[in-house]
């Protein structure tokens, strides 16, 4: 079965059908009304003619009826004109007077009839339509019949009927079309709150589960849907919260046993075994920290009024990772501007993004090389390494959670860059990856710089 894609198209199509059917019925109804009206006019005219004829009907003193029509009426009923005719019939059905050549009645006489009757009768090849009016003249009841030959009907009325479609009937279609266009506009307007609600709904995601659709402007008919949607969102938000809390709680719970393990290893007599196992514990602790970071990011909202000096955050992170880099025979350097670079954002989050980028760089840069932090006054920070770089195919993969190029690479959890991307998203920051010549990668984060004041 055919399905409509939108309410508007459904309304338009159904409306077109309704307009087509209405225009047919309206034309039929109009033409019926018109012929009904012309019939009425005709009947009234005939009745009036009969009454006028009756006024000229008089009774003699001996009771004999006489008909003295004035000259103009005689002309009207003359055979030559042939359009109108009259007859007077008495109670016995005898024709007293008639304008017809054969002195016949126009209609079969029926003495039981009421005072006024409208009749139609075929006379030869003509159809006569008219009225029969009862009148008492002297002490005798007579029926005055007047008729019009329909084949010679009033030209004016005929023209009106004939020209009706050509001159008037067509107007119904454009009027209905205008109505259709007006209706479409009305429906579009009526659906606007729904469109607005849809736009709001499109913002809802795992980080914006607090958004609810407005119910105030929504038409009453759609309210149940919107309310049900909002209730569903409540349940979803609760579900997300439970999941986030679970991730965070699970990670926290793991930290104490890991602490016990770590301390036990530190107290081991055999330092060699202890050191190797400590590295494993550190790896696990790193994953837990990153899981917590992710859980926290999933519910984090950036305060648009919060501002951060990108350079001082970068300095802090460079200082933090320098000992880790040196321990691996690598070094770090800070280049770029030496002035503060104010951007909109949360300093802790920006720090985490830069830290994860630098940990990634330290993991990949070749031994003996230096990773470089470059802060630009346009609000961007770049981390450059001397590693193998990122191939075109890998550029989207690297930001996926738990993706790793080399699963045996120590220190890599596959979470770091996904955290960077999430933080960038939250700050509406652009993240770019480029390869360096001859080798290496350059990750850049570009934040919104605050206007210099």
């Amino acid at each position: 079965m055919f399905r409509f894609k939108s309410i508007i198209s459904r309304i338009v199509i159904l409306h077109v059908f309704a307009v087509a059917i209405t225009s047919v019925f309206m034309s039929l109804a109009l033409s019926w009304l018109l012929s009904y009206a012309t019939n009425n006019i005709h009947n009234e005219a005939m009745q009036e003619q009969a009454i006028t004829v009756g006024e000229h009907l008089t009774a003699d003193s001996d009771g004999q009826l006489r008909l003295d029509l004035p000259r103009d009426l005689l002309g009207l009923y003359s055979q030559a004109y042939g359009r109108y005719s009259y007859a007077v019939v008495d109670q016995g059905g005898r024709v007293l007077f008639s304008s017809l050549k054969n002195q016949a009645a126009l209609f079969p006489s029926d003495t039981r009839t009421h005072n006024v009757e409208f009749l139609e009768q075929r006379l030869g090849d003509a159809t006569v339509s008219g009225a029969s009016v009862k009148k008492t003249v002297g002490n005798e009841a007579v029926w005055i019949q007047t008729g019009e030959d329909l084949t010679n009907r009033d030209v004016l009325i005929d023209d009106i009927v004939a020209d009706f479609y050509r001159n008037v009937g067509w107007i119904t279609l454009p009027i209905l079309l205008v109505l259709l266009i007006a209706d479409i506009a009305i429906f579009r307007r009526a659906l606007r709150p729904l469109r607005q609600a849809s736009e709001i709904a499109s913002d809802i995601g795992p980080t914006r589960t607090d958004v609810r659709l407005p119910t105030r402007e929504i038409p009453r008919e759609v309210q149940p849907l919107v309310s049900a949607m909002n209730l569903a969102l409540d349940r979803l938000e609760e579900g997300f919260r439970i999941q986030r809390d679970f991730t965070a709680d699970a990670a926290h719970e793991l930290r104490t046993p890991l602490s016990i393990l770590r301390t036990r290893l530190d107290l081991l007599e055999d330092r060699k075994i202890g050191q190797a196992l400590q590295k494993d514990v550190e790896g696990m602790a790193h994953i837990i920290s990153q899981l917590l970071d992710i859980a926290e990011l999933d519910s984090f909202v950036v305060n648009p009024l919060e501002k951060t000096d990108l350079r001082s955050v970068t300095v802090e992170i460079a200082e933090f990772v320098a000992p880790l880099a040196l321990a691996q025979g690598k070094n770090v350097a800070l280049l770029g501007t030496t002035e503060p670079v104010w951007v909109t954002g949360n300093s802790e989050m920006l720090g985490r993004a830069i830290r994860n980028l630098s940990e990634n760089a330290i993991n990949h840069t070749a031994p003996g090389t230096t990773i470089e932090f470059v802060v630009d006054k346009n609000g961007s920070v770049s981390v450059l390494d001397h590693g193998p770089g990122v191939t075109e195919e890998e550029r989207n993969l690297i930001f996926q959670r738990f993706w790793r190029r080399d699963r045996n690479m120590p220190g890599s959890t596959g979470l770091g860059l996904s955290i960077v991307q999430r933080i960038a998203e939250l700050h509406s920051a652009a993240i770019t990856v480029e390869n360096r010549k001859p080798t290496g990668a350059c990750f850049s984060l570009r934040f919104t710089p605050l206007a210099l004041t």
């Binding site: 965070a248 926290h252 719970e253 930290r255 104490t256 890991l258 602490s259 016990i260 393990l261 770590r262 301390t263 036990r264 530190d266 107290l267 400590q278 514990v281 602790a285 920290s289 917590l292 926290e296 984090f300 300095v315 460079a318 200082e319 320098a322 000992p323 040196l326 321990a327 025979g329 070094n331 770090v332 350097a333 800070l334 280049l335 949360n346 802790e348 989050m349 230096t370 932090f373």
Partner: protein, 229 residues
């Protein structure tokens, strides 16, 4: 290493972890009392003097932070090192605002815990005769004497200044600005390459005298002293 008979209080509800940490701290020369509730800690701290408090945040009868706030409210200046399984953004901000002196997220190295406690006890008002050591290089902060393989070394005043600052910040980067402030004070006019010259000289002296340490330059930031790799 800590001075003998330095008494520390540890409030940690996980008995196993508390025992292990206490063992480690005792090996490092501290005396450690272990408690597991806020209530016990509150009453004990009223009557007993401790050099420092090691405080776990998640305790069975309340938040460790409330104990901390209470201490600071009563103007108790005891150095407090907070241990926590939480390491989130808000926890960190809360912890430091409530008056913690330092902060360690579980799991941590025992060595790190000891280092942080020592750092706290070396604060002004807690000055201890303590020597700092990296590999075969030792620096005595009391008489500002450097020695290599236990042989006292004679260094220039500027070189000693730089070495002291680096040794005090062992494992951390010292910014060039910090070195300038340390040597010349905040007001002094500094020649642009003066610090580089002193660090270069110190590096040369240490290498010539067989110290197994390296003074790394972190370009754009500062310097870091570490064991030779």
């Amino acid at each position: 290493m800590g001075t003998p008979h330095m008494r520390l209080l540890m409030v940690e509800d996980n008995a196993e972890l508390a025992t292990l940490l206490a063992t480690g701290l005792q090996t490092a020369g501290y005396e450690v009392d272990v408690l597991s509730t806020v209530e016990e800690a509150t009453s004990v701290l009223l009557t007993t003097f401790y050099a420092a408090l090691i405080l776990d945040l998640g305790l069975p009868d309340g938040d460790g932070l409330s104990l901390l706030r209470q201490l600071r409210h009563h103007n108790n200046p005891i150095p407090v090192l907070v241990l926590t399984a939480r390491g989130g953004l808000h926890d960190r901000v809360h912890g430091l605002r409530s008056g913690a002196d330092d902060y360690l997220v579980k799991p941590f190295a025992l060595e790190e815990l000891i280092a942080r406690i020592e750092a706290q006890l070396r604060r002004p008002g807690h000055l201890l005769s303590s020597s700092l050591r990296i590999a075969n290089l030792e620096f005595d902060t009391r008489n500002r004497q450097a020695s290599i393989d236990d042989q006292p070394q004679v260094l220039s005043a500027r070189e000693t200044d730089v070495l002291e600052l680096l040794m005090r910040s062992k494992g951390r980067v010292v910014s060039k600005k910090q070195v300038e402030d340390h040597i010349f004070g905040h007001s002094g006019e500094v020649a642009s390459n003066a610090i580089e010259v002193y660090v270069h000289r110190l590096r040369k002296q240490l290498a010539e005298r067989g110290a197994k340490v390296q003074v790394h330059t972190i370009r754009g930031i500062g310097y870091l002293i570490a064991e030779e790799s």
